[in-house]
Symmetry: C2
Subunit: 157 residues, 2 copies
Amino acid sequence: MGREAIDEQAVLQYLSMDFIIGYKLRRAQLAVFQDFIDTFAELKLRPAEFAVIANIAANPGQKQAAIAETLGIKPANLVALIDGLEGRGLAERRRGDADRRTHSLFLTETGERFVDEMYAVWRGHEQRLIERLGGEAERDRLIGLLDRLLEGAVVSG
Amino acid sequence: MGREAIDEQAVLQYLSMDFIIGYKLRRAQLAVFQDFIDTFAELKLRPAEFAVIANIAANPGQKQAAIAETLGIKPANLVALIDGLEGRGLAERRRGDADRRTHSLFLTETGERFVDEMYAVWRGHEQRLIERLGGEAERDRLIGLLDRLLEGAVVSG
């Protein structure tokens, strides 16, 4: 092997993935998203679609670029995602006067009814996560720690 | 709009993404991975590659299937990832006797030297995250909360 036993031990300890923040975050995020996807299987809704619909519901008439910015979604990905929501009759683009990129986004009436159902389903998912964490105080603690990671982040690109 | 003001208010409150666990987890995970990618730009190492190298270093001779299982990487993705590491001369597959799928994985000598450098670079990244969180006690608290989300997860597929 070419390593002394003590070095090997140090490597094993340091490379234990169990205390690596990014690794643990990713595993937890995948587990939570899997629960979300399973929960929303019948409504055929993925997490990014949920976020976009929630964002349009909270801010009717918002521009695509603003939603991409708020949610950290690449504009090209957002276009495809909104195409999908439009195809399902849940959302609609209304064209800006001059610049075609300044489409404003609205929910359709079907979309507004969908939001109510979406929210009811989502509550079950979120409640399950809160129970796993041990309660709302622990949920708040988790959100606070994640906010610290986000506040310190350098936004690149 | 077709909604009473009070309903609208409730929707706005509930759909505020700031308290949605999965959304916040995803944003924090992306920010941490971006820091990782920026930190490792010179070594051209992505988080999944880091995890695989660390895993081989900790368990030389491990089978591909075991690593895929441990790290939650799809076997097809792991094959492509290991192809890349092999192409860079960092890792090598040694063929199993009977079943070609049972390749065992080892670091090359170049790979063993790379691990030392990788770990040195990684320390800076991880230390930065710990400082953002407020210290090692907060890091441990975060890991503990993420473990609760993982322990309660139903493994599907």
